[in-house]
Structures are given as structure tokens and as C-alpha cells.
């Protein structure tokens, strides 16, 4: 499956990456090259094979649903680009 510039722009939008318009065709060629190489996987018979998401046989552990950490807003906000009192300041979402 080859990717064209329109698909690159669509995927970039999904990934929230601004793309300079002139980069899309080159990226399309690059990604198509990678995907063409990946498509050798079609040779592998995977009929009836269970997909593998984790290398661990055990299921994820459960714990009590209790607060174990927190109560330190200064630490949480320490690296924020913009704050006001104990809040993150973000661009306006609703007009």
C-alpha cells in the first residue's frame, strides 16, 4: 500500500503534527518505502495465531483503589509552560 501526500497530511493531522506543505510529497515517498519493506510480513501464515500484545503471561496486577501519592501541586506544576495559582493555563478551548 503506498501513501500519497494527501494521506500524509491526514495522518499528520491525526497525530497533531504541523507539516510544511512542501514536505508532504517527500514524506509520502519515504513512508511508502518503509511500508513497502514492511509488507514482506504478508508472506507469513498467521491463520489462527493469537495476536501478542505483551511478553508476559500473567495478567496485570490489581491494587486497592486508594490514593497513594499526590497532594503536592507545586511539584506537579513545576515544569508547566504557564500556570496561575494551582492551575495549568491552556489556550482558550471554547469560543
Amino acid at each position: 500500500m503506498s501513501i500519497d501526500a494527501a494521506m500524509v497530511r491526514k495522518v499528520a493531522r491525526l497525530a497533531r503534527l504541523r507539516l510544511d506543505e512542501d514536505r508532504a510529497p517527500a514524506l509520502a515517498a519515504e513512508l511508502s518505502g518503509i511500508l513497502a519493506w514492511i509488507e514482506q510480513l504478508d508472506e507469513v501464515d498467521t491463520e489462527g495465531v493469537q495476536p501478542m500484545a505483551s511478553t508476559e503471561a500473567v495478567s496485570l496486577p490489581m491494587r486497592e483503589d486508594v490514593v497513594t501519592d499526590g497532594g503536592d501541586p507545586a511539584k506537579v506544576l513545576a515544569n508547566a509552560p504557564k500556570t496561575d495559582r494551582n492551575f495549568f493555563v491552556v489556550p482558550k478551548v471554547v469560543e
Binding site: 495522518v11 497533531r16 511500508l35 504478508d42 495476536p51 509552560p81
Partner: protein, 492 residues
């Protein structure tokens, strides 16, 4: 006093305990070496004040006879590990000013055991790369050069800074991480020892995430025993990482030096790559001889899906990365590029903050997970992943470990593979299989090529059987007697 940076971790720990030198002297010797070796670009942050404070604390404990397992050991930390109060960037512009308010579990355990932090080590951006060239801080230069050449070579990646620092005696050992070969390939290219333990051995908490089902921390060290000592401190169950395994941590160093007589080692024929240099082939054969001489039984095995591991990885890893890196939105931490509405800020921030290779992988990952393509790519890759893991399971019914080359070539020139992403990805052809299967694997230096560059061999073990790897690697290290060192051309 002779140069304190030239000793192994094991020898340094003994010297500290017998008070032959102090932790402060050891730290100072390393800090001076680091300062004089900036041409290598191995460190992206030097933390001399922290190092000296920790060293003085170690000296006080040594004086009281309260030495902990790594008391006074001067280590470098890959910049992927969050270190409290010390900038941690993953060598990405998007985290260029990030100063964690917490410590990763792995580094916290090293400090708990008395280690001293020298600084943060260069790496490929978000650990995505095999040459350290995607770092926003610029590439690391390999301390090794081809005989009679001044051409700068890559130390490999993504843990290029860790490997170069250990090879150039700028740390007694270093932390590293491995998602597709990022510990073992740089170890191979720099004449150092690196082990990626079983998935779940080391906590991923506080390690900047790349591909969470593949990422594992491990050490790069000067010797097999040093790697074993470091891995013990780095390992252990951590409730803060749900994939961390609740299992005992063996005394890995106790396996080094044990007889390997009677162990069965498999040689997988599929690791004979097209166009592989004859030197790697003959070194591999030499490795087989060393093991036979030490009493191992060596048998041929087949891992039929080996060639599909790399394309499988380049679906799974970017898919997980695109999901993990969604967190860099410019709102809570990291770079923010203002202007326009919320979506504009997201898009501008991520475009400015991520380098080209990271953007490429985010795009691939987003594509293979998007509606209409998920089954054809992502689900298919997860099924092939199972096939690859099943190959290993079948092989380990017959053998205790596998022996392969670590990388398909010795260190290559900076810029040599950067134009073609797939050519760069092929560096990981022998290492990526075990990440998909979650198995432990170790690379150790086995010899030099005709240009005088180090080459590594890789041992792959059963899940949670790092002990056997250390046992075999110890025997091979003795047989190889690799005592070559790079010429210190970089010293200011």
C-alpha cells in the same frame, strides 16, 4: 596515584572498601576526564556538585564501615532516566528544559546502593535511532577509530553516550535502555559489555517511554562481572510499573566464573545475514570454539521467522511510540509554541519539538493504528510477533542459550546511513528479535576487525535466566581475552 578511571567497577569497589582511594578522588578523576573529553559529546549534562556531594557521603559511610553494594561507584546515566533536580531531556527539544521532580526507580535503586552520579548521557532522541545522530544535542563520537583514519565514527545507538562514556573511561558503568537493540548494538560498536534483561526485570517507572511493551533498562559496563553487579542493583519488583515482575533478583555476579561444562548452546542459522562481513562470520565461529573448549555442547537450531522481526518491530514500536508521545501537548510540561487556538498550539509545539526521525515514527505509528489499516498492519504484526516468540520457545526446549553476532557491522561513519531510514533500521536485525519475545540478551566484545574496530557477540537466554548468560559470557570473556583499548586521541 595512577589513573583511577582506568579500573573496572569491581576493582574500584574493592579499592574503595580497602581505602586505597576515596570516593571523592574517584569522582574527581572521572569529572576531570569528562571535562577533558567533551570532544566525544558523550555527556549532555555534567553534575559535578551532585557527584562530589554523593561521593563525600559515600566516604563517610565507608569510614563508618557501612558500605552499600555500589558505595562510591561513579556512574553515568542515560538521559532517558528521570533524575530529580537534574535536567532530563531524552535528547529532544520538546523536553529541553524538563527538570523532573522525581527519580526513576532504576536510578533511585543505584543511589540507594551507594552509587555516585556523574551526569546525563547523550542518546538518540527518545531512544529512536541506531547511531546517536537523532539527538538534539548532536551525535556522540565513538572513542574508537579505524586504524590510520581520523574519520569520526558512530558509537551506535540509541545508548551511544552510555557506550562511549564507558569505552572512554568517563564512567565505571552506565545505565542504558534497549527497545530494539539500543544497549547491545552500541556495546558491540564500542568494545563494551551490555545486557538487556528479561522484560519486566527492571522497572520502567520514570524512564521516558518509547515503546512500552519492548522498553527495558540495563547496564553498559567494562566487563561481564561489572554488568552483573550493576544489573543486580537496577533490577527488582516495583509496584509503580504494572509490568515489573514480582520475582527475586539473583546475585548475578555469582554466575560469572562458574563452569559452563554441559550447557547446550544453539547457533541459529537464520542469523547469517546477506552481505555480512566475513570477519563477523569468523568471529562467530571462534565464539563457538570458545564455548566448545569450555565444555559446552553447541548445536544448530532454526528460528524460521527471524527475518520478519525487523518489519514487525517497525509496526509495533512506532505504534506504541505514537501513542506514548501523544502526551507531549505543550500543556503540562515541555515546550509550548503559542499562537492560535488549542489545535494550533498542539500542532506547532509538536512540529517544533520533535526531530525528523521521531516525527517519521509518529506518522508511521499513527498510520498503522488508523481506521482501515489497523488489521492489515498492527494486528498482523502482533501475530507475527507471536510466531517469533514461539520460535524461541521451541529452540529453548533444546538449548540453554543462543549465540549470534550482535550487529551486522562494526562502527560506521557519521552520516553514512542517515539518508535511508531502512538501511539504518537494519543495524538492529540481530537484536530486535529478543525485544519482541521479551528475552534477556547480552553483548560482549569478542575481537577486532581488520580496521581495528571492536565486534561483539550476543548471547540470548531463556526468560529470567540472565544467570546462564553471565555464566557463558564469563567463559567467553576469558577465552576472548579482549584487552584492546581505544587510543585517547580526544583528550583536551
Amino acid at each position: 596515584m595512577s589513573d583511577l578511571t582506568g579500573v573496572t567497577l569491581k576493582a574500584a569497589l574493592e579499592g574503595l572498601r580497602t581505602r586505597a582511594f576515596s570516593a571523592e578522588e574517584l569522582a574527581k578523576a572521572h569529572l576531570e576526564a569528562i571535562e577533558a573529553s567533551r570532544a566525544l559529546n558523550a555527556y549532555v549534562l555534567e553534575t559535578p556538585e551532585k557527584a562530589l556531594a554523593m561521593a563525600r557521603d559515600s566516604d563517610a559511610r565507608l569510614a563508618r564501615g557501612e558500605a552499600r553494594p555500589l558505595e562510591g561507584a561513579a556512574l553515568g546515566i542515560k538521559d532517558l532516566f528521570c533524575t530529580e533536580g537534574a535536567r532530563s531531556t531524552a535528547c529532544s527539544r520538546i523536553l529541553e528544559n524538563f527538570v523532573p521532580t522525581y527519580e526513576s526507580t532504576v536510578t533511585a535503586q543505584l543511589w540507594r546502593d551507594g552509587a555516585v552520579m556523574l551526569g546525563k548521557l547523550n542518546m538518540d532522541e527518545f531512544a529512536m535511532g541506531s547511531s546517536n545522530e537523532t539527538s538534539v544535542c548532536g551525535p556522540v563520537i565513538n572513542p574508537w577509530r579505524s586504524r590510520g583514519s581520523n574519520q569520526p565514527l558512530t558509537p551506535g545507538g540509541s545508548s551511544g553516550g552510555s557506550a562511549a562514556a564507558v569505552a572512554a573511561n568517563l564512567a565505571l558503568g552506565a545505565t542504558a535502555t534497549d527497545t530494539g537493540g539500543s544497549i547491545r548494538q552500541p556495546a558491540s560498536l564500542t568494545g563494551t559489555v551490555g545486557i538487556k534483561p528479561t522484560y519486566g526485570r527492571c522497572s520502567r517507572w520514570g524512564v521516558v517511554a518509547f515503546a512500552s511493551s519492548l522498553d527495558q533498562a540495563g547496564p553498559i559496563a567494562k566487563t561481564v562481572e561489572d554488568a552483573a553487579i550493576l544489573l543486580r542493583s537496577m533490577s527488582g519488583h516495583d509496584p509503580k510499573d504494572s509490568t515489573s515482575l514480582p520475582v527475586e533478583v539473583p546475585d548475578f555476579a555469582s554466575f560469572v566464573g562458574r563452569s559452563v561444562k554441559g550447557l547446550r548452546v544453539g547457533v541459529p542459522k537464520e542469523y547469517r545475514a546477506d552481505g555480512m562481513p566475513a570477519e563477523i562470520e569468523s568471529l562467530w565461529a571462534k565464539g563457538v570454539e570458545w564455548l566448545k573448549d569450555a565444555g559446552c555442547e553447541v548445536v544448530d537450531v532454526s528460528l524460521p521467522h527471524t527475518r520478519y522481526a525487523l518489519p514487525t518491530y517497525y509496526i509495533i514500536a512506532p505504534a506504541e511510540a505514537s501513542s506514548n508521545l501523544a502526551r507531549y501537548d505543550g500543556m503540562r510540561y515541555g515546550l509550548r509554541v503559542d499562537g492560535g487556538g488549542l489545535t494550533d498550539v498542539y500542532e506547532a509545539t509538536r512540529a517544533a519539538g520533535f526531530g525528523r526521525e521521531v516525527q517519521r515514527r509518529i506518522l508511521i505509528g499513527t498510520y498503522v493504528l488508523s481506521a482501515g489499516y489497523y488489521d492489515a498492519y498492527y494486528l498482523k504484526a502482533q501475530k507475527v510477533r507471536r510466531r517469533i516468540a514461539d520460535d524461541f520457545a521451541a529452540a529453548f526446549e533444546r538449548v540453554d542459550a543462543l549465540l549470534t553476532p550482535t550487529a551486522p557491522s562494526a562502527a560506521f561513519g557519521l552520516g553514512e546511513n542517515s539518508a535511508d531510514p531502512v538501511a539504518m533500521y537494519l543495524n538492529d536485525v540481530f537484536t530486535v528479535t529478543v525485544n519482541l519475545a521479551g528475552l534477556p540478551a547480552l553483548s560482549l566484545p569478542a575481537g577486532l576487525d581488520a580496521q581495528g574496530l571492536p565486534l561483539g557477540l550476543q548471547l540470548i537466554g531463556r526468560s529470567l535466566d540472565e544467570g546462564t548468560l553471565f555464566q557463558l559470557a564469563g567463559a567467553m570473556e576469558s577465552a576472548a581475552a579482549f584487552d584492546h583499548r581505544p587510543q585517547a586521541w580526544w583528550r583536551a
